[in-house]
């Protein structure tokens, strides 16, 4: 990883975050949507013990759905004025582009997850315990990196032309299964849902990390080909 590539990636990420800060789509649209999803889950499952027990899974389902919107948004700003094409014509390294966009997406998702965890405490009564905080944070970070890498790969492909947006969930959801499973079990252990011990959560963090690295590396290699049209 060269210094130039990292610098380009940082600029791409800063550009995406700046666009987000000015447009406030995450705050005005994605966050309310994910909050709404959390409320709708309560309608579907009913209040009481079920919600509390399912809280870790529901948080990550809401994150997964919100990721789809955030990814679409992340690439919509690139394709709107042919910005992605301009970046490619300008000779921007696709690997740097991938890292930059994935990093910006990860920052947005971390903000989203923090809010959703807070909402779970309020709505589902999912109280975090002190000994699980490190596991909770590690799970959230590794799962976010995995989702950001996955979203960036397929977002790049789905952004290539009109009518491709509907493809995104079909491509992402089946392969996001390890993230959903791993992150849910990690958060379960961190919160102590069903009297799960904290130590039971660490293998899942391992799985999430392996997944994030595998998807990140293959995404960096494949991204150039996927966005070339």
């Amino acid at each position: 990883m060269t210094v130039g590539r990292l610098r380009t990636a940082r600029r791409i990420a800063a550009k995406d975050l700046l666009v987000e800060r000015r447009s406030r789509v995450l705050v005005n649209q994605v966050l309310p949507f994910s909050g709404l999803v959390m409320v709708v889950f309560a309608f579907a499952l009913g209040t009481g013990g079920v919600l509390e027990r399912s809280a870790p899974g529901l948080i990550w389902l809401a994150v997964l759905f919100s990721t789809l919107i955030t990814v679409q948004r992340s690439f919509a700003i690139e394709t709107a004025d042919g910005a992605l094409e301009s970046l490619r014509v300008a000779g921007v390294d696709p690997v740097a582009l991938f890292i930059g966009k994935a990093a910006a997406l990860a920052c947005e998702l971390i903000a989203l997850i923090t809010v959703l965890l807070g909402l779970a405490v309020v709505l589902y009564g999912a109280e975090p315990r002190a000994e699980g905080i490190v596991l909770l944070v590690t799970t959230a970070i590794s799962a976010t990196c995995a989702l950001a890498a996955l979203g960036t790969i397929y977002g790049g492909l789905a952004a290539g032309g009109p009518g491709r947006e509907t493809l995104l969930p079909l491509l992402i959801l089946p392969v996001a299964a390890p993230v959903l499973i791993g992150a849910t079990r990690g958060v379960e252990a961190a919160l102590g849902t069903d009297r799960t011990a904290v130590s039971e959560g660490w293998p899942w963090v391992g799985l999430l990390t392996v997944f994030a690295v595998a998807v990140g590396v293959s995404g960096a290699l494949a991204f150039g080909t996927l966005i070339e049209d």
Partner: protein, 260 residues
């Protein structure tokens, strides 16, 4: 759209050859043989009864589906990393994925019917079943990517990348699902392992099924690859004809060759 990558104008217009016809006849005979052994000659199972006969379709189709996806992955790799970037490999990859998805659907349908009779439920959240279902959806996504617009070369590169990404992701999906089930499985009532003693005639029937379906796969793959090649030929001919017509229009409207 380079002429070198298009099939030649003299390319065949049908998908059958003497070899595929012979293969087709052998496949039909083998399928008839499978019907005879599967439905008539092989005995019913002591525990499963006649439901065991579903296995003679279920096992071959799942084996073929996996083989088809391996062929897709190998051909995607050969297309992407080969020196000539031959579109032939892309066509085989696409044809194989289509057949794999069909066989996988048959596997899921026959498996759930068997499960309903044997286990009492259509679906079990067993690691193998769950991975199979996710694999099925992943390759439906792959086929959707193949259907996207763009030149043949771009489509081929894009789908080859998606085909290879699936190879990286699927083992991770399987690993996670296995971990999930191993940690969260309640008292195991239903044994989904097939590692049981199997009657000699049943084993022979199963083996016949695998051979019959493998022949069917090869036969379908040859024909489907050729129909994709003919589709490509049709598309490039249509483009060539359209270009020739525009040229003829231009030359008839301005014989001097200059624009007005």
């Amino acid at each position: 759209m380079t002429p070198t990558t298009s099939p030649q104008p003299t390319a065949r217009r049908a998908t059958g050859t003497r070899a595929t016809r012979v293969l087709g006849i052998v496949t039909l005979v083998m399928l008839g043989w499978l019907l005879l052994f599967g439905l008539v000659l092989s005995p019913a199972d002591i525990d499963q009864g006649d439901a065991v006969r579903i296995m003679y379709v279920h096992v071959p189709t799942v084996w073929l589906a996996y083989l088809a996806f391996i062929v897709t992955a190998v051909c995607s790799g050969l297309y992407l990393f080969g020196k000539r970037h031959s579109l032939g490999f892309d066509r085989v990859a696409g044809a194989s994925a289509e057949i794999g998805v069909v066989f996988m659907a048959l596997t899921l349908i026959s498996g759930s019917l068997w499960g309903r009779i044997t286990w009492g439920v259509y679906w079990q959240w067993d690691a193998r079943l769950t991975t199979t279902a996710l694999l099925f959806v992943t390759y439906i996504g792959y086929l959707a990517v193949r259907g996207l617009d763009g030149t043949r070369e771009r489509r081929a590169r894009r789908s080859a990348v998606i085909g290879l990404l699936a190879v990286v992701e699927i083992p991770l999906v399987h690993w996670s699902v296995r971990l999930w089930r191993s940690l969260h499985q309640e008292a195991t009532i239903l044994d989904t392992d097939l590692d049981v003693d199997i009657d000699g005639l049943m084993l022979f029937t199963l083996f016949s099924g695998v051979i019959a379906f493998t022949l069917l796969f090869v036969w379908l793959l040859l024909h489907r690859t050729r129909t994709i090649a003919l589709d490509d030929l049709l598309a490039s001919r249509g483009l060539d004809r359209a270009i020739a017509e525009r040229r003829a229009e231009v030359s008839s409207s301005s014989p001097s060759g200059g624009g007005s």
